[in-house]
Symmetry: C2
Subunit: 331 residues, 2 copies
């Protein structure tokens, strides 16, 4: 048996989907042939997306553990399903890596990915492996949603309330600690999981879709300022954010002196994978303050005027420019 | 509008699927949101696969034109659908590239990919872009097949005939000419298209599936010796190939002196993307010699004994080792 085939068997064994996927009846043929064969569910639509997770772009080998890379690469792609209100079902993994990483590193990477797959109830159904100078992971996820119930970015209307789940800025704070080599200090360890092992809002996304509560939705993968701008552009509207209402990450006093500003982290920090959604005002009384323990906060409103402003507690407003993560930016 | 968004719009405009896809009724939401939404067809199964196409592994920027990289990256993934007997429907593109390639190179790459998409009737429904030091393309394709009709690698039985479409070794010959810098010579130009712009056997794959003619099938992406070994391993059988029957590429006399051996090219050369399939003997009389102009050749038979042998015209036999393209090989 050649090395490539052994590698594929190791991947398939490390992520044994039948153990946790209740959806394997839909799987006609899994990993190991030219392609996977799925029997689509009746009375449902499929939601598909793919996401690359690249060394030196999305993670750094010298600071990120293989478990975290495995977990997060799958979480990142799956968060897009949450943002549509879809339930995760299957995924494909394309894995390009240097030969030296095919031993212990790969086992730990697969363990991290398997824990994400179990948590999100995703079955690995196929993929591709290649030898490559740097690590390049590409993940395709397939989810399911009731017909017509996928929540797009384009449905926000003037007057809608802008809401967000959880807290914002925590992932960016964790990333900064890692990059500034502060992550090793025991006192800051509790601040790392939002960066390394983000929670997804899958149940919330599906609940908002089922209840037809959200008129538009996106996950905060690139930062509130950037992701809100995407909703506004797709919907042809503007927005006004209330600075004092934004659920900012709590920054310990000892770190504030090092330039960590909670509002800046919350506005522009990426990778929180919270849900940012708009709710028509007449439905907003039905929106609870918590969903399964996750706080839902009203942070602003959609406006007819197509600009995005942030309002201070004293009533003064300033334009909010998208300063989150963008590829090919000229800065 | 930021650079990343402009890039996504350029991609969507360059591959305007509605112009050629007869399947857009199934597409509820295309490129530009968090994910694509598709309405699966009734009475059909879906076939999915993903394939990476990487700089310095699958292509070289200094010798391969952007058009050829665009065409071939999509063709390579789509060939796996042909090998299942599926009809291509949709694809997702994950594109990671250096900023310097986002101008003219990208336009030409997208033109090559668009010509493949038109030819294969594939609609681009989503994807991902990222800035990266080297080019990394990952393509997910989705095809359709009648329930239970996908042709796997695992159905070959002792006595089945082994058949192959087209000629073998032509892509490897083209690759060698490119690598030995002979590709610029006008007399060898006609030998390059099988390497740069491979034809796929989509109609043949669907015909074999519909007629239930093939008991097992694979595309010859990594070379006859390697791909036949995969069918044999999956089916738990062996094979005997008749050397004199193998439809080898015609090597011009002037090149034979340079070490190009037609049988070696045909046995171990990769990327022909022909279909290698097995046919139960009782059905073989129904197999025509040509399908839509493409020759179909009987090149051997499946054996109960689990080894793969090649038989010379004089009757002598030798083991055929898989010497096609394999990642993570120790050579």
């Amino acid at each position: 048996m050649n090395a490539e085939k052994k590698l594929i068997e190791r991947i398939a064994n490390a992520i044994p989907f039948r153990a946790w996927s209740p959806h394997h009846a839909a799987l006609r043929l899994g990993i190991g042939d030219d392609a996977a064969v799925l029997r689509p569910p009746r009375h449902a639509e499929w939601v598909l997306t793919c996401d690359a997770f690249l060394e030196n772009v999305h993670f750094l080998l010298r600071v990120h553990t293989p478990e975290a890379v495995g977990y997060k690469s799958l979480a990142r792609a799956t968060s897009d399903l949450a943002a549509m209100g879809a339930a995760p079902r299957f995924f494909l993994l394309s894995l390009a890596l240097p030969a030296r990483l095919t031993r212990r590193w790969l086992d730990q990477f697969l363990a991290g990915m398997a824990s994400a797959a179990r948590k999100f109830q995703l079955a690995l159904v196929g993929g591709d492996t290649a030898e490559h100078a740097t690590l390049a992971i590409c993940i395709t996820v397939i989810g399911e949603v009731a017909p017509g119930r996928a929540v797009t970015r384009a449905g926000a209307r003037p007057g809608d309330l802008i809401c967000v789940s959880g807290t914002l800025g925590a992932a960016q704070l964790g990333l900064e600690l890692v990059l500034r080599a502060l992550a090793g200090k025991r006192r800051w360890k509790p601040l790392l999981p939002p960066h390394l092992y983000p929670e997804l809002r899958l149940a919330l996304g599906q609940w908002l879709s089922r209840r037809r509560m959200a008129s538009a939705m996106i996950d905060t993968s690139d930062g509130l300022s950037t992701d809100l701008a995407r909703i506004c552009a797709a919907s042809g509207v503007g927005a006004r954010l209330w600075a004092s209402r934004i659920p900012c990450v709590r920054v310990p006093a000892a770190l504030r002196g090092r330039g960590f500003d909670p509002l800046e982290l919350a506005l522009h920090g990426g990778e929180d994978y919270e849900l940012l959604f708009t709710v028509p005002r007449r439905l907003s009384k039905n929106l609870p303050s918590f969903h399964q323990g996750v706080p839902l906060t009203r942070i602003g409103e959609i406006t007819r005027e197509k600009k995005i402003q942030i309002v201070r507690p004293d009533g003064g407003a300033r334009p909010l420019l998208p300063r989150g993560w963008v590829h090919f930016s000229t800065k």
